[in-house]
């Protein structure tokens, strides 16, 4: 369910960018970073994206999801480790609690690819907002 909300937020953000571009380029790929330590299921996002972009300016855009693993830093050991989500979060070496998450919480639009040859072919139409 929240994948639907997340996708709405995604589309809104990309639309804001797209509408700020004078030539309304043809977006071909949206690169999204999804941390493993979030509530978001990449498959659910893909599905919601497909459904919600039908017959919109993003119809031809692919959603590329980059999984970002959970990485924590153990201060006693002065080293990074990857907690085993669902099983163990403490440092496997010294058992210190997970206290410093370095990555894995991302839900971020990293970058957008768009098609230069199409530039100018699209007529901006504010009525289709």
């Amino acid at each position: 369910m929240h994948e639907t909300d997340m996708t709405k937020a995604l589309i809104l953000t990309v639309r804001n960018w797209w509408e700020s571009q004078p030539d309304r380029p043809n977006i071909t790929k949206i690169h999204l970073m999804v941390g493993q330590f979030t509530c978001v299921e990449p498959a659910g996002l893909q599905f919601a994206f497909e459904v919600q972009t039908r017959q919109t300016f993003l119809e031809n855009a692919a959603l590329v999801i980059q999984d970002v693993p959970l990485v924590a830093f153990c201060h006693p050991c002065q080293q990074e480790y990857q907690p085993e989500i669902g099983r163990q979060y403490a440092c496997p070496t010294c058992q210190a609690p997970m206290d410093d998450i370095r990555s894995g919480r991302e839900l971020k639009i990293d970058r957008i690819e768009y098609d230069g040859a199409e530039v100018g072919h699209l007529t901006p139409d504010p009525a289709t907002r």
Partner: protein, 233 residues
């Protein structure tokens, strides 16, 4: 030939909700209100805890409740008997509260009550272990509940809420004699991902642990910033 362009955005998907939450928090700060976001799986005892909390603290703290009960007004009705403002917000079929929904509740609070007179707003989130912690609503503290009937492994399996909680209430401890549950293990599982969390075992039925919980609430209300500076643009 097509030429492909690439633009780096680096925009957080939740930035709109985050901005809404910051705005809500600024309102609370302006009114001198501490806001707590109460989260758990369905039926862990959020409403029972709120009833006990209102009964125990409404004489010394001016409290309001924002109730995110999914479909009914049942929970709100249980709480109104304490004669504190109880604002039920319609969450539709959403599996969590977000900042915008709570902003609607704040709006009601502002227009039907005197928010300056309040000390504490308790927000009962939608019963769900997975995603409420991902959506800030403008709270100063997150309180997670886990009932002992849910099993020791739940913090490991659904870690985000427990990792983000400022206080964990292990609820329904009156049922311990009837269950094969290791309460220390629940606490240890939460500590391994959140060493700074205050952990209190409570029973809304017998009252066990409630004084300690009230003490934590008091300390948080006093610790909150009481800046009366927010002006609404």
């Amino acid at each position: 030939m097509h030429q492909t362009f690439d633009v780096a955005l680096g925009i957080d998907l939740l930035h709109v909700n985050q901005a809404g939450a910051d705005h809500n928090r600024a309102h609370f700060d302006g009114w001198g209100i501490t806001c707590m976001n109460i989260m758990s799986s369905p039926g862990a005892g959020k409403t029972a805890l709120l009833e006990r909390t209102l009964a125990g603290l409404h004489q010394e703290l001016a409290i309001a409740v924002i109730e995110g009960d999914m479909t009914t007004e049942l929970d709100a009705d249980r709480l109104r008997q304490y004669e504190v403002p109880v604002i039920a917000i319609n969450t539709g079929r959403s599996c969590h509260l977000d900042a915008k929904m709570v902003a609607g509740g704040i709006h009601t609070l502002e227009h039907q009550y005197d928010p300056h007179a309040l000390d504490l707003v308790l927000v009962e989130n939608v019963g769900n272990l997975v995603c409420p912690a991902e959506f800030e609503v403008g709270e100063h503290a997150k309180v997670a509940l886990l009932s002992i009937t849910e099993g020791e492994d739940k913090p490991l399996k659904y870690p985000i809420m427990f990792q983000e909680a400022d206080c964990l209430l292990i609820t329904k401890v009156d049922l311990a004699p009837y269950l094969d549950v290791n309460i220390e293990q629940i606490a240890a599982n939460v500590r391994q991902m959140n060493p700074h969390c205050t952990i209190i075992s409570v029973s809304a039925k017998t009252g066990e642990g409630l004084e300690e919980w009230f003490g934590w609430v008091r300390s948080r209300v006093q610790a909150s910033p009481l800046t009366k500076t927010h002006t609404h643009a």
